[in-house]
């Protein structure tokens, strides 16, 4: 049992694990682990002729694209007199500080100091904080770990490489709590039948043909958690009217910031369809108490394209009645799963005081996630690559998202990919 393993380390070690888990800054156990992976910085489309201040893993940085089109990620403060490069000027070959004109290329080399004598070599001694950047799939990515000059290759999210449909990529959903509140929520599919079942949602008429009404006993959801190469997945196997046919749903987490699902609405009931619409996203970790969601979806020819909500409703209102005597921050919030998740995750606290928890059998997914994070932190501390870091060049990050009906005789729910 994973519970036993963690707890056998002793109460203080367990407490230390709980404290370290959500940390993201440099020098923290959590932060050092996170720095072995590539992270999204912003969408490619955000970068034009103005540098953008961007906080990543507790570090204040500036992202820009030089005049030759190369993206760069530098420390936000000019090392000369500490002016912010957010107000710097994009130049052909780099980013120039507006104060005294010191200019840096995308690798942090100081390539101009216009107020110094022409024969000065001072600039050769200046190397500004920089991180390697790659642009792929419509996203600017960075690697903030120790192997800056020779980082592991960028793992390419399979969905973003797809050409058999339309990929939609949306950023801008910024949360003011720790990123693990989100990740643990996704490792904990039991909540779906309670939280997302608070309001009974009608199935629109146009969707009814897709649904399989022969499925019963889906609440509470029967779920299994499986550790995989990339992280973990949660699989639900439901009985149908035909004992030879099962209905399968899969939700997957790839270390340390990716989540994935398939189906019309994350596969949650009443989505008992064979309709596969790949969905998911990744987290841009800002600091211990802030993150940004970058969501994506793949819509292929023939897919149902009805008005499903992608992310939060813009007015942050649910479908429940808005009552005049409701004085809470979120009123009438029930009824929209993305909003329900926001409200409950945020309510756990900026960084939940996990030592006060009382875990139960429905938390097996959460416990698996913490065990994986724990192992990854220990691997990094002992000089090893943590789970999911791949040294294979140009490798795709393939994540299980199987969803639909399958013959019982062909059922596999192990760590291998399911097609």
């Amino acid at each position: 049992m994973s519970e036993t393993k963690i707890e056998s380390a002793g109460q203080s070690a367990y407490q230390k694990l709980l404290d370290d888990l959500p940390r993201t800054g440099p020098g923290t156990r959590g932060g050092e682990m996170l720095r072995r992976y590539w992270h999204p910085v912003c969408l490619s489309s955000s970068l034009s002729d103005i540098p953008i201040a961007v906080r990543m893993l507790c570090e204040d940085l500036v992202v820009f694209r030089d005049g030759r089109g190369r993206p760069g990620l530098l420390g936000i403060r000019c090392p000369h007199r500490l002016a912010s490069l957010e107000y710097g000027q994009v130049r052909e070959d780099g980013l120039m500080c507006s104060y005294h004109g010191w200019k840096y290329d995308v690798k942090g080399r100081c390539i101009d100091q216009p107020l110094e004598p022409r024969d000065s070599t001072l600039k050769n001694n200046i190397r500004h904080l920089w991180y390697p950047v790659e642009e792929w799939g419509g996203v600017i990515w960075t690697y903030m770990g120790p192997e800056k000059e020779n980082p592991p290759p960028l793992p390419k999210i399979d969905v973003l490489a797809r050409t058999d449909g339309t990929v939609k990529l949306v950023d801008g959903d910024i949360r003011n709590y720790n990123y693990l509140n989100w990740m643990e929520n996704f490792a904990d599919m039991g909540h779906a039948t309670v939280l997302h079942g608070l309001v009974i949602r009608d199935i629109p008429d146009e969707l009814k043909p897709y649904n399989d009404y022969s499925i019963k006993n889906w609440t509470p959801l029967p779920i299994e958690h499986v550790e995989t190469d990339y992280g973990m997945k949660t699989v639900s196997v439901l009985d149908t009217g035909d004992p030879e046919i099962k209905f399968i749903n899969t939700w997957a987490l790839a270390m340390p910031i990716h989540w994935r699902f398939s189906g019309l609405r994350s596969g949650f009931p009443p989505d008992f369809t064979d309709e596969r619409q790949e969905g998911g996203g990744m987290i841009r970790i800002i600091d211990d108490t802030h993150f940004e969601l970058v969501r994506y979806s793949l819509t292929r020819k023939g897919n149902f394209t009805g008005g499903w909500l992608f992310g939060l409703p813009s007015d942050l209102k649910g479908t429940a009645e808005q009552k005049a005597h409701d004085k809470r921050k979120y009123k009438g919030w029930e009824g929209i799963p993305a909003l329900e998740d926001l409200v409950l995750q945020e309510s756990q606290g900026e960084i939940p005081e996990r030592r006060l928890e009382h875990l139960a059998s429905s938390d097996r997914g959460v416990i698996m996630l913490r065990r994986i994070w724990h192992k990854a932190m220990e691997d990094v501390a002992s000089g090893k690559d943590p789970k999911g870091v791949c040294r294979e060049v140009n490798g795709m990050l393939e994540v299980d998202t199987f969803h639909g009906h399958v013959k019982a005789s062909e059922l596999k729910i192990g760590p291998e990919n399911m097609e």
Copy 2:
């Protein structure tokens, strides 16, 4: 002399007393004393089908009324995974967490865990933080002290039990400073002739018949402070034109959050009338730097019902001229006693640095209050009931509020109640 007694304890003990006095949290000397009394949580009318987050004495709680009408007060965070019960669902027999469905009754017992196996007994091991609650007089009350299972009986404020008039009960006046700034202000009636005399207020024509213009020399106010069973009172005895007749006013504080007066406007000059309109209120202590006022009044048949202000003006403006060059937070604030008190109390600081004070003879009331608080903290520390805790079942909290003309030969200003 009370000053002598307090100071004889030595400078550091006196400093410690000043530090402890305004504290309200668990484990503080002030907070432990406060936890021996019943406190208002909210008005009965506020509780319907939505739980309400409520911070009480530095503790974050949720108050709700279950489907059977029973009010409950629980720790705000679900002990399972720390989601906020402010977003919980009111059920017939308790409050259900919206995240995984754990449900608690009004005594904190976990009565459902829908995602656990049907034969699980885990819920029997969960006891959530709860406090005993009573509903009386239109108010939800709680006792947060150590005798949770068998608290002392709720002392019932006499005014709220009255049936010979109309009781008005108003909450919602929240202050961002320590509750003792308010209480000390009320123990310090000397300020009335300075602060509340800054602007000379006209007596409306319809009130003139009520006033006794034979009273002179009321400024400065002659006042005596008297310790009572419930706390303390301040009595002012004024000479009238008739040497046999005195005009009496009384302001009382009942430990540790109640204040009381009688008369049209707290009995402040020029209210020299026999008109008795019971007034006062109680403090809901939020934390060290926030409290809410819950005011009440009793208007009986025949009472003057002209437009006296009950509490603060909604625009927080006084009757003084609003000057364009006035850049202060409160402009033209003078002229309305409740606003004058707010401005000066708030200006003393969130928690006044009392070690910097220079007390004078006009501070005898404040010194008496502090001595009573000091004694109460010491009594609690030594296991005794502090002043005013009453073990008599269904006892009324009777507080002196005498106001009006009285024969000099019948004058009593001792600790006994005056009718």
Copy 3:
């Protein structure tokens, strides 16, 4: 070399200097040095019948003018019960606390306690915090140093004494960063050709006759830094087409809060004119991370009076294009020197982490300023007057502001005043 001198003190001493430099509070090395000089509190015109809360060098004070016209500066909290004197009442002979009527004259003496017995002598024992104040040149000044009863005479800024033109005096530009960010910017004129050259500004037609187009090679600006009795100055000597004629500009800093220049626009290119318009100002230091600018200018008969901007544009917008994808606090900020300085100074941080700097030869002015500040702090620590404190009664503070064309044979750029 000044760099050598500072650094030879060792790394930890240098770090301590960097830490002490920006401090302004009582008991800090920086704050004690600042307390040997007179500081502006507010404009004379601001003081009428309402006291004004004013934070000066980290101390919360109240400035007022009593009914006899005398300005006073007192601690903001009444020493009785700590109510704020910001809500006090101006009286003929002092400022009265609105709470209990204690009244203070401009020297902090308690002159009334209306709630105390008539024969009480308690008030004679109360001396409230006060600072000496002088009113001169349209400004209320104070001296917060140890010689309160006998401070050094107020140094009178020459411009404010001028009668041969119109003096304009404007306050209200409050910044939320340390005052040294401003002062160092002014000691660092190299930035002008980079920062203030980002946008090429046209010379209005009506100004063209004033400008000397024979001046070339003004970028980068050739500058020399000269220590003076009052502080330091920066002098730029430019070649003109005539080898016998030089174009001179001067920017001066007087310890510890004054800056001065001459010319139409601080003398920055393309202001190569003989037009002399004295300009400058002084800093009201609020605390370590806030200050207010009090600017002044002198316009004499015959001066160009075109629409030059005095201080910041009210909309905080520059002349650069406002781009929709610009999400920064300041958008399109380039093009107006005062705004450019604000943006870059603020961007250095509330208190810049100077230990992270990499100084270069263009920072000679900044290094000179720090050396002067360092010496002043050391002088104060050893009981001496720091630079610029003048014991001469009614002395003017004369500051170099030479600007215009001069014969090469008559050129002087030493510490003496240039007329």
